[in-house]
Amino acid sequence: MSEKKTWIRFFTIADYEEEESWLRNQHQKGWKLLRMTPPCFYVFERCQPEDVVYRLDYKNSTEDSEYLQMFRDYGWEYCGQCFGWLYFRKSVSEMSLEQEGEIFSDDASKVDMIDHIVKTRMLPLLIIFFACVIPQFFRALDRGVSGWLIFWVTMLALYLYLFIHCGGKLRRLKAKYKNE
């Protein structure tokens, strides 16, 4: 039996670059990603410490075999998916050029991925926020202080935090890609 460990870590939809570096860091310490269990459980397995690049692609659909085949042709090992994110890795020792460690080679495709995240993740969240969280919050407010009010205040704060954090971060990432 190989040694395993499970980590709980939460990355928002805008933190994929941090998630990639964190996974690379774990592999350098001798822990390779075995699988992801939603919502935020990372199962690692003991391995030889190695410099392995991790990359995340956002598809928000079930992976098709041609898509995975193309990544395999490029030398990417598929390590699973979680909430629309697909996880790939490739050992640095297998690369002859630095660019081989990237899945997106131009700014246009990086920006496309962000637009796709905004359209399929941020917009639904906004709709839930305005159609459900806000009305429920005011309804609870009318009824006075109760457990429900605390619940909806927490939800309101959580949503606001996510919107500000993710919205701002995605905008900054987009600007960064365009200026590169």
Binding site: R55, D57, S65, E66, Y67, Q69, M70, F71, D73, Y74, W76, L97, Q99, E100, E102, I103, F104, S105, D106, A108, S109, D112, M113
Partner: protein, 107 residues
């Protein structure tokens, strides 16, 4: 070619141009990226995600068409519309090149 396509594809990104150029004969995505790498001496390396996205978009816009499947790999080839876009782009690049060489300055 309608205005919408003209807006998206004229001028094209470097990756986009090479992908369309290489698909004058049927190929799959990884084959195209290998050919582009060779043609440019390793200067232009198209990533897997960029390649997949470009092929899907070009297929949707009718510039290339799916012709066959080979071991789970989709082979694509340029369409008549794709050729029209490629030729428009080639004319633009040729003009750019000629002008950069200063042909009009000598006259």
């Amino acid at each position: 070619m309608d205005d919408k396509l003209r807006r998206i594809y004229v001028p094209m990104t470097e990756s986009g141009f090479y992908i369309l150029y290489c698909l004058q004969r049927p190929q799959h995505g990884y084959g195209v990226s290998q050919q582009v790498r060779q043609m440019t001496g390793g200067e232009v390396v198209i990533g897997a995600g960029t390649m997949y996205g470009s092929l899907s978009k070009m297929e949707k816009d009718g510039l290339i068409a799916f012709v066959a499947e080979e071991d789970k790999r989709r082979l694509y080839q340029i369409t008549a519309l794709g050729r029209e876009v490629l030729e428009t782009e080639l004319r633009r690049i040729e003009r750019l090149y000629k002008n950069s060489k200063g042909v009009y300055l000598d006259e």
